[in-house]
């Protein structure tokens, strides 16, 4: 197993630690971006970005079910955008334990970040990435 993009995702082995995304915060204007970039897109200051841990939780901005997939991925699948409390809106897949059906997710619901393989396929089985799942345990997750 390897982390698909270690620059974007922190998986700590320390007890009690939870995984999070790694973004940048502009030390001049406070804008937080994900993924990282060296120039602030808001104030255009170069070299003022510092690394910040973000995205342990979020809110489901929008989601859909894709009924086909590119090579190496599985259909149907949830595809979603998540609003992070720190500012950025990120694209994310949804944890694989949730049945891909209408009614399982609701826009606006609270989400939390998990880490799991990108897809259960030979191409991506060994690549760990971030996904989001509903923060509350309801919503019919499979055990």
């Amino acid at each position: 197993m390897k982390i698909l993009n270690p620059d974007n995702l922190r998986v700590s082995t320390e007890p009690g630690a939870t995984p999070c995304l790694l973004g940048n915060r502009c030390q001049q204007c406070g804008t937080i971006v994900f993924p990282k970039m060296p120039v602030c897109p808001s104030c255009h200051r170069n070299g003022a970005m510092e690394e910040v841990e973000i995205g342990r939780t979020g809110r489901l901005y929008s989601h859909t079910i894709a009924h086909f997939a590119p090579k190496g991925f599985i259909a149907p699948s949830f595809q979603a955008f998540i609003d992070l409390p720190e500012g950025p809106r990120v694209f994310s897949l949804i944890g694989s334990k949730y049945p891909v059906e209408r009614g399982v997710l609701e826009d606006g619901m609270e989400m939390r970040l998990i880490v799991e393989p990108l897809a259960d396929t030979p191409e991506h089985r060994d690549e760990l990435t971030y996904k989001y799942v509903p923060a509350s345990k309801a919503n019919g997750a499979k055990a």
Binding site: L4, N5, N8, T31, V33, P35, P41, S42, Y61, S62, H63, T64, I65, A66, H67, F68, A69, P70, K71, G72, F73, S77, Q79, A80, F81, D83, G87, P88, R89, F91, S92, L93, R102, L118, A119, T129
Partner: protein
């Protein structure tokens, strides 16, 4: 800047042409445009060739423009290869326009060509995913998903916000399929009903198969020249490029309330052409997913937010309406060979303005027209490329 006119256009039919490589698709489009313009190969000073997926799908990673043009007898001149996703061809036209407008060239050729049918649709879909930034596509994001739920497009939220129904989503596809049924160059020539579109299989909820543009091969070309020498080559009516605007997407955080880039590029084109949306007689726009046409009505300033379906219900944008949109059949019916689409739009508008559009000819020949083309996707929550061209006769 000098005034620039389009004096010739040509297109290859759009569809599935398994036995034709890029150069064979481009050849009839290029010579169609040269013959239409009455220019010789030796009159062309410079050429821009748009193509998006040819590297991945055909293996011709470099110098595709030179390969394509040599096959058509054009060598020696500056040839610029253009990749700008689904807006590659409009970007090629802008290059040709700028060469002539600046005085660097008198006659320039713009070509768009795409070969998407390679006998393996999964490969084609993966290649198409590559017009999104890798940070998105490597997570398995579908390009179609962006139309369904991407923040600046989000057709799904429009259903909730404006009460648009699945039938509303189907309306542009139905309208455009009728137009396409009259177009001998179109890929899909069967007129569709609302029921057929709504009931076709779901691709990315709420978009169904018949709301999506399909995998296409095709090519288109245009010859442009300085307006003051336009009549030297051909007796046909020259079509003036009143503006040709290219913009890239803007990085947007959530709650960014600046106008989106489809709007800003259209209004930049209006301003440069000295017109407003009320002056337009016909439009070709980028309906990669049919319901996005309804949203583009708003962005181009044709109606208030949420009013898009009315423009079809009230026969404003139908072929017999005051402002026909996508008389060619648009991307869903005529077809969307991605790197050719922008110039296919221009071909259609030129034919309509000259009265050469056959059975789909707009009755009152349009004098002022607009082509809107866009493509690609970045994480910054906006499409990557926006092109908008206004033509005047």
């Amino acid at each position: 800047m000098r005034d620039v006119a389009i004096i010739g256009v040509g297109a290859h039919p759009t569809g599935r042409f398994m036995d034709k490589p890029l150069k064979a698709l481009a050849y009839p489009a290029i010579w169609g445009a040269l013959d239409d313009a009455g220019v010789k190969v030796t009159d062309v000073n410079v050429a821009y060739v748009g193509n998006s997926l040819g590297g991945l799908l055909t293996g011709q990673e470099g110098v595709r423009g030179q390969v394509v043009l040599q096959h058509s007898g054009i060598t020696g001149i500056p040839i610029v290869n253009v990749e700008n996703a689904c807006a590659s061809a409009m970007t090629a036209l802008r290059g040709a326009w700028l060469e002539v407008a600046s005085g660097a060239a008198d006659v320039a050729l713009a070509v768009g060509v795409e070969k998407m049918n390679v006998g393996n649709n999964a490969r084609t879909i993966s290649a198409l995913s590559g017009v999104s930034e890798l940070d998105l596509s490597e997570l398995g994001m579908q390009f179609t998903t962006s139309y369904a739920i991407h923040p600046k497009i989000n057709l799904k939220s429009r259903m909730q916000e404006y009460g648009w129904t699945a039938a509303d989503f189907a309306k542009p596809a139905v309208k455009n399929s009728y137009n396409g049924s009259l177009n001998p160059l179109a890929q899909h020539r069967k007129p569709l009903t609302i029921e057929e579109v709504v009931q076709s299989r779901v691709i990315v909820d709420p978009l169904t198969l018949l709301m999506c543009s399909s995998i296409s091969d095709g090519a288109a070309a245009a010859v442009v020249c300085s307006a003051d020498i336009a009549t030297r080559f051909s007796s046909k009516m020259p079509i003036k490029i009143a503006s040709c605007v290219l913009q890239s997407g803007v990085y947007r955080l959530p709650h960014d309330d600046r106008p989106d880039s489809a709007t800003t590029s259209a209004y930049a084109a209006y301003e440069k052409a000295g017109i407003g949306p009320e002056d337009l007689d016909a439009i070709e726009l980028h309906d990669a997913m049919a319901p996005s046409e309804l949203m583009l009505y708003e962005r181009l300033g044709l109606c208030s937010p949420g009013e898009g379906p009315k423009l079809i219900d009230e026969h404003v944008t139908t072929l017999d309406g005051r402002l026909p949109v996508n008389p060619s059949g648009g991307l869903c019916s005529r077809g969307h060979p991605v790197g050719a689409t922008g110039l296919l739009q221009i071909c259609e508008l030129v034919w309509q303005m000259r009265g050469e559009a056959g059975k789909r000819q707009i009755e009152k020949r349009p004098k002022v027209t607009l082509a809107q083309n866009q493509g690609g996707l970045l994480l910054g929550q906006d499409s990557a490329v926006y092109g908008c061209t206004i033509l005047k006769s």
